[in-house]
């Protein structure tokens, strides 16, 4: 079924009896050409592009829980391509361009809203760094603008511009950044993949991998053995657990990142705002809630829930920037598990096992990468060579000294 305004009107006039389930609930076949482990944003996008752009068939996505039940449903929905390094920026700009055409491409309303993102500047040094980053973005075809203090004040007059520690001196803006309805991304990709014959198999946890003579033969699951010529793993957060089935250790730790949403308020923040110095960022949802977050909790965790000290820290950051929110009540807090890699950048690569491919290490930046990650992973799976924007995301970059470390923190995952 194709969605359109006409379809909505026609259904409204006929009692909404024509809407059908958006995807099938198939029984797994004995074997496939491609198995994607992980029915989140990246896994579903991979299956979608494998079928649509690379003309592949006999594809299954295996999901341990329900589609979109992991990090794609737990993030703060921000899209942007404001990276500095050559290994990253072309990839994220490719992703942002895919976001811009996504809804027409998969015929689903993902509420892509390019409301702009600003990174606040507090010092001369920070202005220099952001100017350099903005120039880097422009050189890779992205958009960037440096805002003066007065321009920021015209947008958000109620911010605390004269905070003694971090007075606001300006901002780096990417007007094409914004937010997307995150669940709809998973649903749109799932629907698009299903329409092209991909089997989306839920409640199917991978419990082992069958590897013979250095080659993958298939996966053991809670619904039995499923054979495959190629297996792609896209389970960021649980990457180490799944890849341990193949005897692999990864250059990453799993950490919990919390996010928060307040009660609904009248429109007050039109775009996305980051207050890096205060470890705080915020946007406002279409329902009016302030959606915000800060740092990871900082220790290895698979708990999908965080602790109170970080909530206090994030709230302090919010209050420092926006004293007006002092009496706003918090509606919900939640946590998601991040693959925190050793240089803060992801991995999309082959493994030492023939037919086994890996996609992970997204740290807390996986959501914005979803379309490009799926496209690049599908490219790697179908053609056995990396997509041109993802050539740097290799396992061996640590051995070769080719780290992509935006923050320059070194091999300390909880500081990226």
């Amino acid at each position: 079924m194709r969605y359109s305004g006409f379809r909505v009107i026609a259904e409204a006039l006929t009692g909404h009896n024509g809407w059908k389930p958006v995807w099938r609930d198939p029984t797994p076949q004995a074997d496939y050409d491609y198995i994607i482990i992980g029915g989140g944003g990246h896994g579903l996008a991979t299956a979608y592009y494998l079928a649509k752009e690379f003309g592949q068939a006999r594809i299954a996505v295996l999901e341990k829980g329900y589609l979109g039940g992991g990090n794609v449903g737990r993030n703060t929905t921000i899209i942007r391509s404001n990276y500095l390094l050559d290994g990253n920026e072309p990839f994220y700009e490719f992703s942002l361009k895919l976001w811009e055409g996504l809804e027409q491409d998969f015929n689903y309303n993902a509420m892509v809203s390019q409301r702009g993102i600003i990174n606040l500047i507090h010092t001369d040094a920070q202005r220099d760094a952001f100017t350099r980053r903005g120039n880097g973005m422009i050189m890779h075809g992205a958009d960037a603008r440096l805002l003066s203090r007065d321009e920021v004040r015209a947008m958000y007059p109620w911010l605390n511009f004269d905070n003694a520690r971090f007075p606001i001196k300006g901002a780096l803006m990417q007007p094409r950044g914004g937010t997307v309805r995150h669940d709809a991304v998973a649903w749109g990709y799932a629907r698009g993949a299903d329409m092209r014959g991909v089997d989306l198999i839920q409640n199917c946890e991978v419990t082992g991998m069958r590897i013979e003579n250095g080659r993958i033969r298939g996966v053991e699951t809670t619904r039995g053995f499923i054979g495959a010529k190629k297996v792609g793993v896209a389970v960021a957060g649980s990457s180490s657990k799944v890849m341990a089935h193949a005897g692999m250790r990864l250059p990453m730790e799993s950490h919990v990142l919390q996010a928060f949403v307040s009660e609904g308020l009248k429109p007050v923040i039109e775009g996305v705002m980051t207050f890096g110095a205060g470890h705080f960022y915020v946007s406002q949802s279409d329902k009016g809630g302030l959606v915000f977050g800060g740092d990871i909790d900082g220790y290895n965790s698979y708990a999908q829930r965080g602790n109170l000290p970080v909530i206090e820290d994030v709230a302090e950051g919010g209050m420092a920037l926006m004293p007006a929110i002092g009496r706003v009540r918090l509606l919900r807090t939640w946590g998601g598990i991040m693959d925190m890699s050793m240089d803060g950048s992801p991995i999309i690569d082959k493994t030492g096992i023939e037919g086994l491919y890996f996609n992970g290490g997204w740290c807390y930046g996986g959501f914005k990468a979803t379309p490009a990650s799926g496209w690049a992973f599908a490219h790697l799976l179908a053609k056995d060579e990396p997509h041109k924007t993802a050539t740097a995301y290799r396992f061996d970059r640590f051995l070769k000294g080719l780290m992509i470390d935006e923050k320059g923190q070194g091999a300390q995952p909880n500081l990226h």
Partner: protein, 94 residues
């Protein structure tokens, strides 16, 4: 989380800085180990879901290094040792 410091008793985890897997104690010998061994030491992690031995530094306390055994799924802490004792038990001089 409360970390039961072997010397100072129960302390808030906020007083500590987290480093990572306690295997970081087992640094290869720089004169004999190859680049692969150092790569594995510096970058590769087991990252288990469950019991995890990890290094915490009591920065806002007595500045000792601890080896904390903690469950990464429940956050329950079952054992706390001085990293010095752990390292010496492995034959390290300090």
């Amino acid at each position: 989380m409360i970390i039961h410091h072997p010397i100072l008793g129960p302390r808030d985890a906020q007083e500590f800085v987290y480093l990572g897997d306690a295997s970081l104690i087992d640094r290869p010998d720089g004169m004999t180990a190859g680049i692969e061994a150092f790569h594995d030491y510096l970058y590769q992690r087991s990252n288990p879901a469950g019991e995890h031995r990890e290094l915490w530094y009591h920065e806002q306390g007595d500045r000792s290094w601890l080896v904390v055994t903690r469950n990464t799924v429940t956050h329950e802490i079952t054992k706390v040792e001085l990293a010095r004792d752990v390292a010496r038990a492995k034959g390290r001089s300090k």
